[in-house]
């Protein structure tokens, strides 16, 4: 194995591939940082550029874009409180408040270093435990997937601040929005109103950009004309190193290891990627923290949990992709297309027939992770200078980039109208005190839950007990019930002691 890895490094350190990785990581960071531009878009837009390259060079460029874009999301999540990608939603919870407290440089430094650590741990997992874990995931059927989706959706209750009903409602509404389009199993057109554009449902990118970026712009418009409201704080303490001490770094190692484990574990499950793992890791970190009351107010623990987990999802998502040919999320789905364009068919046979190429991919991942650390470290000062740009100049330009990103999905103006529609909905959520993150989770997990539910019923000949009697599905469903009961117990206890009620603010609710 080490011979193959050395051979892979030999390939990656050729001048052409090394340059491609450097450019790919830099472009990926920019795509991840700008709300509305995502890793999917970066890979989709650069895919045609790889046609003329060999498989190793082409795949290395796509992997560099993936790594850069996954990490780049933390920049806008911290500087603008807008997650550049779904994987950095939880980074806004504490990164934003740290920024407001004047600790933006520290938040960025923490995010960059722990993104790197998460990536490296996940690559280790990919290299050493991929085949075994992938075989376990392969044995999952619709009953298990339905139960996992239900369990994840019930975590929404834990995510909500104040009213659990509003949190669950947001998740259910997200699920409902995901039912627009052709229904699974029987292909009935639902809620399309004769619009061909709605047959495939709403694209996750348009929903995300609308609910977070456009809604944020509308929210800023509400106060932008107030004196001194149009610009963000430009003053910031001088940065030394990455902005945090060695003691703080060492103190976060258990949190990082736990979050990396969660990121890899969740990332490996198809359909549940970094968009979910960062939020779940955040919740777990809060539950395990000695100072849970600091979460949501600007603690590095929250940034560490989110950024380690989302980057750990890189290796996690690559496990089923390479060993089974199953993409874990939208990014790996487009990476699968890229591999196939270059004549590579991912699957169990890939390790036997194209071993050197597989280890070139591993080497490209490792080099991309180091490049991400270096470029983001050197670029940190440039990112901080972004703060000097007044919001009334920056946000309209971001809106234009969001519009370009939406248009680029299918060259349709319809998708730009969609981001505006979801922007208004996101703004309404903010005004109504309804959290946005559960809506996104409901939207992402909804199709998987419904498809698995219906297929599971078909398999058990219409017997609902099939979901309970299956050991794995039954365990997850039991965990879902326990999760709801635990939250209800917590709400009842807090209602009796109102002063002790701690709140977790998500999605920018007021």
């Amino acid at each position: 194995m080490f011979d193959l890895l050395l051979q892979g490094f030999g390939n990656v350190f050729s001048l052409q591939i090394f340059m491609l990785i450097t450019v790919g990581v830099a472009v990926g960071i920019v795509f991840g940082a700008v709300p509305g531009l995502t890793a999917v878009m970066a890979i989709a837009l650069c895919l045609p550029m790889t046609y003329g390259l060999g498989p190793a060079a082409g795949i290395s460029l796509l992997i560099a874009l993936f790594v850069g874009a996954t990490s780049g999301g933390l920049i806008s999540a911290i500087l603008l409180k807008i997650p550049g990608t779904p994987s950095s939603i939880a980074t806004t919870f504490d990164g934003g408040p740290m920024m407001e407290k004047g600790e933006g440089a520290k938040a960025l430094g923490v995010g960059i270093v722990f993104s790197f650590i998460g990536t490296i741990i996940s690559i280790g997992a990919l290299m050493f435990i991929a085949p075994t874990l992938a075989r376990v995931a392969l044995s999952f059927g619709p009953h298990e997937y339905f139960a996992i989706a239900v369990f994840s959706l019930t975590l929404i209750a834990t995510l909500s601040s104040g009213s659990m009903a509003k949190g669950i409602f947001a998740g259910v509404l997200g699920f409902a929005v995901s039912t627009v389009g052709i229904a699974p199993v029987d292909a009935t057109a639902r809620f399309t109103f004769g619009q061909v554009e709605l047959n495939a449902g709403f694209n996750i990118l348009t929903v995300l950009v609308g609910m977070f970026a456009v809604a944020e712009i509308i929210k800023v418009a509400e106060t932008a004309r107030n004196p001194l409201a149009g610009s963000t704080k430009a003053a910031m303490v001088r940065i030394k190193g990455f902005g945090f001490s060695m003691a703080e770094f060492l103190g976060q190692i258990p949190n990082a290891l736990r979050s990396a484990f969660l990121g890899v574990s969740i990332g490996i499950l198809p359909g549940i990627g970094a968009g979910t793992s960062n939020i779940i890791s955040y919740i777990v970190a809060k539950k395990r923290s000695k100072t849970p009351e600091q979460f949501g107010k600007g603690t590095i623990e929250g940034v560490v949990a989110s950024e380690t987990a989302n980057n750990a999802g890189i290796g996690g998502a690559m496990i089923p992709l390479l060993t089974l040919g199953i993409p874990g999320d939208a990014v790996t789905a487009i990476l699968l297309g890229g591999l196939m364009i270059h004549g590579i068919q991912p699957g169990p046979m890939l390790f036997l027939t194209q071993g050197p190429l597989v280890y070139t991919i591993f080497a490209a991942l490792i080099v991309s992770a180091f490049m991400m650390l270096l470029l983001e470290f050197w670029g940190l000062r440039i990112f901080i200078r972004l703060l000097a740009i007044p919001k009334h100049i920056l946000l309209p330009v971001i809106l234009v980039l969001c519009a370009v990103g939406a248009f680029g999905l299918a060259s349709r103006v319809f998708d730009i109208w969609t981001i505006l529609g979801f922007g208004v909905l996101g703004y309404a959520f903010v005004k109504a005190g309804i959290p946005t993150a559960p809506f996104i989770i409901g939207f992402i997990l909804g199709p998987m839950a419904e498809t698995s539910f219906r297929r599971g019923l078909q398999l058990s000949r219409g017997d609902y007990m099939g979901f309970v009697t299956n050991p794995i599905a039954g365990t997850f469903l039991a965990l879902a019930v326990i999760s709801i009961a635990w939250q209800l117990w917590g709400e009842w206890r807090n209602a009796r002691r109102p002063a002790a009620a701690g709140s977790l603010r998500l999605g920018g609710e007021e």
């Binding site: 009935t188 712009i217 004196p227």
Partner: protein, 153 residues
């Protein structure tokens, strides 16, 4: 009773009822079909709305509830974005974007700051040009060129 919470709860219930109404228009088959999951979701939305409504009616009102912000700017911003999207095809990306950016800069400028029209116009044209050139020629994304199609494509 909190007015805002009551209105939110009614909106939640209304969303569930509206969704249920839309489900009624779908074809129904025997057993589990395309309406099953949406129906469960609709009833959950109605139930959650009613739970929230009961809570809102029980809670005492707060005298100092937050007032509305500058809704005129919000309305203007929404109108500008809608106008921008509508103008993308007929005017093309470069012209529509430059006009949108210029007007949006003006609308969002804080009251205490001046309004440097020439600088805003320059910034708007430059940003529109750079974004168009990057995506049109760098990434081969065929953004609408409008009347400039003969020169830009």
């Amino acid at each position: 009773m909190r007015l805002k919470d009551t209105l939110v709860a009614l909106a939640m219930t209304g969303a569930g009822l509206g969704y249920l109404g839309m489900i009624a228009g779908l074809p129904v088959r025997d057993g589990v079909d395309a309406t099953t999951v949406p129906t469960i979701l609709a009833w959950m939305m109605i139930g959650l709305g009613l739970i929230e409504l009961a809570g809102a009616l029980r809670r005492p009102g707060e005298p100092g509830e937050k007032g509305v912000g500058n809704m005129v700017t919000v309305a203007l911003t929404l109108a500008l974005i809608a106008g921008y999207v509508a103008a993308l095809r007929p005017l093309g990306f470069p012209i529509a974007t430059a006009i949108y950016l210029f007007l949006q800069f003006l609308v969002l400028t804080p009251r205490d700051g001046g309004r440097p029209f020439a600088r805003y116009a320059g910034l708007a044209v430059m940003a529109a040009g750079v974004i168009f050139a990057t995506f049109r020629y760098g990434f081969d994304l065929l953004l609408p060129a409008g009347p400039l199609v003969a020169w830009l494509n």
